[in-house]
């Protein structure tokens, strides 16, 4: 099992969600996050004074995937979240040790 963590542009969330659903992913978690990478921040202007804002808003998606499903999940995110412009985000794939479904106590791949 792997945990796929993707940081994407917020307006791409719906497309990514639909793409993941269409390949059989039946659950994911999202969080509004902010940070910076190569895109850096943006400029805001209040009463003639310009301010550099370093952190850009992004959405973080977390998906648990079966080992044989990981490439498909990553592919779907790569395809749908890409605009080709700087700031499209990152995908991290992490090993996941164990999963539990709280309601039933099931564990392992069945609990995904």
């Amino acid at each position: 099992m792997k945990l796929v963590v993707a940081i994407i542009k917020p307006f791409k969330l719906d497309e990514v969600k639909e793409a993941l659903r269409s390949i059989g992913v039946n659950g994911l978690t999202t969080t509004d996050v902010q940070g910076f990478g190569r895109q850096r921040g943006h400029t805001e202007v209040y009463r003639g004074a310009e301010y550099q804002v370093d952190f850009v808003p992004k959405v973080k998606i977390e998906v648990m995937a079966h080992d044989d499903q990981v490439d498909q999940v990553v592919d779907a995110i790569l395809k749908t979240a890409r605009t080709g412009k700087i700031g499209d985000g990152k995908i991290f794939v992490l090993p996941a040790e164990q999963v539990f479904r709280i309601r039933t106590g099931e564990r392992g791949p069945d609990a995904i």
Binding site: V45, Y46, R47, G48, A49, E50, Y51, V53
Partner: protein, 437 residues
């Protein structure tokens, strides 16, 4: 005895309520411009003026401003505690009850010190502000109101400077007092380095809109009658404000590539400020010119604070002092005898300039002295740690916004006490039952 005019009285009651509503409008305007951790303290600094100044005004402020003239300098004590302020009119407002005139003037006395609060936002102790507010209302506002409107040496009875609704008394006065506050209190921690950006721009626009709305009472109400002059002042007020919005956002667009909502709201306030002294003396095209000039000039002056490195947090100097001076001087240029009997020209402009200089000097010096007194007694500036934590928590033990569950439990409250009493009573009954068995 002059006769009460019901139309005038009805309009002045409505105007009084309109001007009252400006102070909470200002609270939102300023509240939106500060950081989230200071929103309540900023709103409270304006809101508390409604309470403090009303009490001060009824006891002593009104009579010092509008009591019988004493040597062109101050009003006599005839009306202290509002003695003799009743249904009969006074000479300054011959067709409405004195009570209505007193209440109308009270609303001006409330908003003027509230305007100053923008200069020391995010770092003033609440207790310090209460002391400054009280002393300032008595020692600065009332004398100036007397000098210009109450029969004192600057007004039409003597020098002959004209100020329809408060360019000198309200805006230059508050603006230069704000400069004194910004200089006395010093900069906020991180000024000029950190981004101090508005936390709620919709509040800023809402506040500016409420100010615009209330200002019809402020300016058109200053006709103290429901007549053609009130209508003229109403139109001048509206047109100047509209032109000032454009006067601000056009250079902003050129310089920064975008027109901003904070810019539009700030331009509106600059226009309202500048037209205030002129509103009852100029025609509609002059109003457009005054408003547009105020918008352009104030757009450029608000950032003088960055050059001169004084922290006028919300630009009271750049908008109210500068806008007030533009308005007071241009009143001397554009006044039209057909509107209200005064003509613009070099002579009138000179009188306006004298009134401006007297206001600047008196207000700055006395405000500085008041700050000194308050600083030595209750203290003015919060500790650095309190400033970083935010004034909402450090001055009022509250938070403006709680978006998530933060944990915690009741330490002390009436509800908890009631629950404790009920628990004690229940255990008492159980003990009694146990004893009877």
């Amino acid at each position: 005895m002059p006769k009460i005019d019901t139309g005038d009285t009805a309009w002045m009651l409505a105007s009084t309520a309109l001007v009252m509503f400006m102070t909470p409008g200002l609270a939102f305007f300023y509240g939106g411009l500060v950081r989230a951790k200071n929103v309540l303290a900023t709103v409270m600094q304006s809101f508390i003026a409604l309470a403090v100044v009303s009490v001060v005004w009824s006891l002593i402020g009104y009579t010092l401003a509008f009591g019988p003239d004493r040597g062109m300098v101050i009003g006599g004590l005839k009306y202290w505690g509002l003695h003799g302020v009743g249904a009969d009119p006074v000479a300054l407002a011959p067709t409405i009850p004195a009570t209505v005139f007193m209440a109308f003037q009270l609303m001006f006395a409330i908003i003027t010190p509230a305007l100053i609060t923008g200069a020391f936002a995010e770092r003033m102790k609440f207790s310090g502000w209460l002391v400054v507010l009280t002393l300032w209302s008595i020692l600065v506002y009332s004398p100036l109101a007397h000098w210009v409107w109450g029969g004192g040496f600057l007004g039409t009875a003597h020098l002959g400077a004209i100020d329809f609704a408060g360019g000198t008394v309200v805006h230059i006065n508050a603006g230069v007092a704000a400069l004194a506050c910004a200089l006395y209190l010093g900069k906020r921690k991180g000024f000029g380095q950190q981004a101090f950006v508005p936390h709620n721009v919709p509040f800023v626009v809402l506040g500016a809109a409420i100010l615009w709305f209330g200002w019809f009472g402020f300016n058109a109400g200053s006709a103290v009658a429901s007549n053609g002059l009130a209508g003229s002042a109403f139109v001048a007020t509206h047109l100047a404000t509209a032109a000032a919005v454009l006067g601000w956002i056009i250079p902003e667009w050129i310089k920064h590539g975008k027109a901003t909502t904070v810019g539009a709201a700030s331009g509106a306030v600059a226009g309202l400020v500048a037209i205030t002294p002129a509103s009852g003396f100029v025609g509609p095209m002059a109003a457009l010119a005054i408003g547009f000039a105020a918008g352009v000039v104030c757009f450029f002056t608000v950032n003088l604070k960055l050059r001169f490195r004084y922290d006028d947090s919300l630009d009271v100097v750049g908008v109210h002092m500068v806008g007030g001076i533009i308005g007071a001087l241009l009143t001397g240029v554009f006044a039209d005898a057909a509107i209200n009997g005064f003509s613009g020209g070099w002579g009138q402009l000179g009188k306006q300039a004298v009134a401006v200089l007297v206001t600047l000097a008196y207000s700055f010096l006395v405000t500085w002295a008041i700050l000194k007194v308050a600083d030595k007694t209750v203290g003015l500036r919060v500790a650095e740690e309190e400033e970083v934590a935010g004034l909402d928590l450090s001055q009022h033990s509250e938070m403006g916004y709680t978006f998530s569950e933060r944990g915690g439990h009741v330490v002390q409250s009436p509800v908890a006490e009631a629950a404790a009493i009920a628990r004690d009573a229940a255990s008492g009954e159980r003990e009694l039952e146990g004893a009877s068995e």
